[in-house]
Symmetry: C2
Subunit: 143 residues, 2 copies
C-alpha cells in the first residue's frame, strides 16, 4: 500500500477499489493529470469506474490536503499529488508540458507592505512559461 493510502486509512478514509486505483494513478513524479486523464488511466485498472467518482475523490483529496489543484492554461484543472515539497510550476507554452520547480527565493518577500491593500496575505503561486526543449527543437520559429 502506498504512503498516500496508509495516511488516508489512518484518517478514517473508507478504502474502496475506486479510491485505490485513483491513488495509484496519482503516484509518481511530475504528475499533473486532468480529471479526464485520471479517469482514462483509472478505467484501465478498473473498467467500471465512473467520472463522478473520479471528481468526488479528487475533490476529497484536495480538501484533505493530499493533492493540490493547479491551473496553468486557464482552461482545465489539473491535480498535483506532490504536496510534501514546496514547489512551483514551469509550463511549456507550446505543448503544455509541466515540470515541478523549486525556487531560491520566497515570492511572498517580493510583495511589499505598501502593495498589500490591507490583505492578510497567506500564499503565493508562481507559474513560469517558456518553450520546452522538445518544442524548441521541433519548431525553431516563433510560437
Amino acid at each position: 500500500m502506498s504512503d498516500l493510502l496508509r495516511r488516508l486509512r489512518a484518517r478514517g478514509w473508507r478504502l474502496t477499489a475506486q479510491r485505490r486505483v485513483i491513488a495509484e494513478v496519482l503516484d509518481g513524479e511530475h504528475v499533473h493529470y486532468t480529471a479526464d486523464e485520471v479517469h482514462a488511466r483509472a478505467v484501465e485498472l478498473l473498467p467500471e469506474i465512473s467520472r463522478a467518482s473520479v471528481y468526488n475523490t479528487l475533490g476529497e483529496l484536495v480538501v484533505l490536503g493530499e493533492v493540490t489543484e493547479v491551473n496553468t492554461d486557464g482552461r482545465v484543472r489539473r491535480y498535483d499529488p506532490n504536496v510534501h515539497e514546496a514547489h512551483q510550476h514551469l509550463v511549456c507554452s507550446d505543448c503544455g508540458a509541466i515540470r515541478d520547480v523549486r525556487l531560491t527565493a520566497d515570492p511572498l518577500k517580493a510583495l511589499p507592505e505598501g502593495e498589500r491593500f490591507g490583505f492578510q496575505v497567506a500564499e503565493a503561486t508562481v507559474t513560469y512559461y517558456g518553450r520546452c526543449p522538445e518544442c524548441a527543437a521541433a519548431n525553431a520559429g516563433p510560437a
Copy 2:
C-alpha cells in the same frame, strides 16, 4: 475617444458600436471582469450586443496585446486591461476580489538554471492569495 480606441484605430481595427462599448467597459483601474460581466455592462450601453461579440472582441484584444487573460480561481477567465504596467495579482480567497500589485523583485530571478529543465523561460505570473479587509472584518474565524 479613449487611448485604447485610438491605438486600435491606428492599427486598422474596424471600429464598431459593439467594440466601442466593450472598450468603454474595460476602461478603469483594477478592472478584472469575466466575459459575462463585460457582457452585462455592455448590454446597458448597447442592449442588442451578443455574448459571441463579447467573446470575439475580448479574444482579439488579447491577441493584439491590449488585454490579458487572468485566471485566479481555476474556473472563470477574467480580462485585465492593465497591460502597460508590469504587475501581478492579489486575490481574496473568500470573496474573489482582485487587486493589481507591483513586485520589488523579478520572479524570473528566483528560478535557478538547474531548475529550468532546458526550457527557454520567457515569463512568470505570480498570484498572491489572502483575505481582504472586508472579509476579515465580516468573518473573524477561519475561511
